[in-house]
């Protein structure tokens, strides 16, 4: 009899070597993806503010993320003297660990999912990603600094308040499927032929707002409000530890965007994915060529920009980017045209549409960040408790009633809109009622309302 732990490890590797490899791959690739999301965010911010953004490293700043990563890795690692060393070390790891673990439950297209077919799929993703709050709270507490503690307090209060609204929004979408399994949720949307964002628009809105608050993004980025708290819970962190927090924040963005995509935006389904069954709508199947055209367009644009690059290295890099786009376009084209490659169609195109929807969701986050000024903390709390939570509870009730009415009239697919649209309209009326009551009885809007102690 060998050592039981060794034996158990061997059994584990035998049973789970494939998910383990995928997990390692995700952990290895995610920092790069996050780096490029940051680059896109900086470029977008520059564009909206009529600047150029990062331009120096690589053509159009395309290598900036790598330079940033090197800078972060070789920065000095400072631990404050009075910090709790163990917790200070543990906190960023907890934060990023929870975010990465929840990525395992997501399905990027029908073919790519690490933890395959778990019955509680969506709950797993939401629940595990919520554990990241411990990293923030413990990090703020362990730094032994007032700014950090304030940031951590705000963050935990914010997350606990908005989690209820987000959960209720998820419930009203889940009412349509009756399952928590991610694949079944997308299949339900495929069978109905309609995305749940049409059936439950109010729930989508609630989830959108709550997910911005949960990922601590602007306009709800009060835990790290630089004008009040330096950097909130990250104030005392530097170098690699800081970059772990950063990684966790962006991984959480990907997670909430993927949850919203799966539940509300049809997951990996193409727009109008069921039209080939209807008469006279065959032309919409040409949408299959949209991914290819998109890739080719980007490639052609890169080629067109190539001669304008100042140095020969940059020209070659631009050329390589164009080539990559053409290769991707070819990969997307083959399953549509070649009959033998048809089995790969679902996986490849599903992945494309899923990533496209997630990117659009994240783009919306950034757009909002550069458009709307930051909320005050009491405004944030009032929005959560006095508006979003009542709204989402009313919405769950009304969606339930609409579903019962729908099953009474044997409605399906687009027909369900007949009952869910009135439900959404009634919910909107309730929302305006709540706002009116709030205006009449609410706390005074002046600065004295902000005198609670989270406000710093």
């Amino acid at each position: 009899m060998t050592n039981p732990i060794i034996q158990a490890t061997i059994e584990f590797l035998k049973a789970f070597w494939a998910p383990l490899l995928c997990g390692v791959a995700i952990v290895a690739v995610l920092p790069l993806i996050v780096g490029y999301i940051v680059l896109v965010e900086r470029k977008l911010m520059a564009d909206m503010q009529a600047r150029l953004g990062p331009m120096r490293v690589g053509p159009h700043g395309l290598l900036q993320p790598i330079a940033d990563a090197v800078k972060l890795l070789i920065k000095e690692d400072i631990i404050p003297d009075n910090a709790d060393k163990l917790v200070f070390w543990l906190a960023p790891v907890l934060s990023v660990g929870a975010a990465l673990l929840s990525l395992a439950g997501l399905a990027i297209g029908p073919a790519f999912q690490i933890a395959q077919d778990i019955n509680i799929g969506i709950l797993f993703v939401v629940g595990v990603s919520a554990l990241g709050i411990f990293g923030i709270v413990l990090g703020g507490w362990a730094s032994n600094s007032h700014y950090s503690l304030m940031g951590a307090l705000r963050s935990s209060a914010q997350l606990v308040s908005y989690e209820t609204a987000a959960g209720m929004a998820l419930v009203s979408a889940l009412l349509f499927t009756g399952t928590l399994n991610i694949k079944s949720i997308v299949e339900a949307q495929s069978n109905e032929g309609i995305w749940f964002v049409m059936l439950a628009p109010v729930a989508f809105f609630t989830y959108l707002v709550a997910s911005i608050a949960e990922t601590n993004r602007a306009p709800f980025d009060l835990p790290e409000a630089e004008s009040e708290l330096v950097a909130g819970y990250m104030t005392e962190f530097s170098g690699f530890r800081w970059s772990l927090y950063f990684l966790a924040e962006y991984a959480n963005m990907i997670v909430v965007a993927s949850v919203a995509t799966t539940l509300f935006l049809g997951g990996w389904l193409r727009p109008f994915s069921k039209v080939h069954e209807l008469p006279g709508f065959h032309l919409l199947n040409l949408l299959d060529f949209v991914p290819v055209l998109l890739m080719v367009a980007i490639g052609v644009y890169c080629l067109q920009r190539t001669p304008k690059q100042p140095t020969r290295v940059q020209q070659m890099f631009m050329f390589a980017v164009a080539g990559l786009c053409f290769v991707l376009g070819l990969v997307l084209l083959v399953p549509v045209v070649v009959p033998i490659a048809k089995p790969f169609y679902a996986g490849i195109h599903g992945g494309f549409w899923f990533i496209l929807k997630v990117s659009l969701y994240i783009y919306f986050f950034m757009w909002l960040r550069f458009t709307i000024p930051r909320y005050r903390f009491d405004q944030l709390m009032r929005l959560g408790w006095h508006f979003l939570i009542p709204l989402s509870i009313v919405n769950v009730l009304l969606v339930g009633v609409a579903l019962i009415a729908g099953s009474y009239f044997h409605l399906q697919g687009w027909g369900l809109l007949l009952v869910t649209t009135p439900a959404a309209i009634i919910t909107l009326i309730v929302a305006f009622l709540i706002l009116a009551i709030e205006k009449e009885h609410g706390a005074p809007q002046d600065q004295s309302a902000a005198s609670d102690f989270y406000a710093g």
């Binding site: 059994e11 019955n119 509680i120 629940g127 709270v137 951590a152 307090l153 935990s156």
Partner: protein, 170 residues
């Protein structure tokens, strides 16, 4: 002798054993958060995935965050100077002994009386399990609707009471 049989697909491998002892040891001998997580792990090993995730969302992600929140608000140095705990040592001892007696009685009777005591776990060859959350929902809203409602009303009363008490102080 008719023992209650519950068919669980327990394919006990060495991996399961090692994981179980790891979770059990963590649950007994560690802090509150890790103990709750370890209990969740044991739920998962019993293939009760819904209980697993509810344990994580509710206890670890919800209640423990509130605990940590309160711990950060309260100045611990001041709180430590006032002795607040261990006043009811004898009551606590009595309750613990009574509970121990109850549990050991259940273990003792498990082989003696038909239909009572501990259920016997037998391994079944099922590879695909019925969804656990549906089973929980059925037992909550069909078999045990009344106790469930009573518990909900109790929680509601407690919540309203807390709100009223908090309002009085302000």
């Amino acid at each position: 002798m008719a023992r209650r049989r519950i068919n669980l697909p327990l394919r006990i491998s060495m991996l399961d054993k090692v994981l179980f002892y790891f979770f059990a040891g963590t649950a007994v001998a560690s802090g509150l958060i890790t103990a709750l997580l370890a209990t969740a792990g044991i739920f998962l090993q019993l293939r009760a995935e819904f209980l697993f995730i509810v344990q994580i969302i509710l206890y670890v992600g919800g209640i423990m965050v509130l605990f940590v929140f309160v711990i950060m608000l309260v100045n611990l140095d001041v709180a430590l100077q006032q002795i607040q705990f261990a006043r009811q040592r004898w009551v606590g001892l009595f309750v613990a002994l009574a509970l121990a007696a109850q549990v050991s009685f259940m273990f003792w009777t498990s082989g003696k009386m038909p239909g009572q005591g501990l259920p016997v776990l037998t391994a079944a060859a099922a590879t695909k399990l019925p969804p656990n959350s549906e089973a929980v929902a059925r037992s909550l809203f069909e078999s045990y609707l009344l106790p469930f409602e009573i518990a909900s009303v109790l929680l509601l009363v407690a919540m309203i009471g807390a709100v009223v008490m908090a309002k009085k102080r302000a």
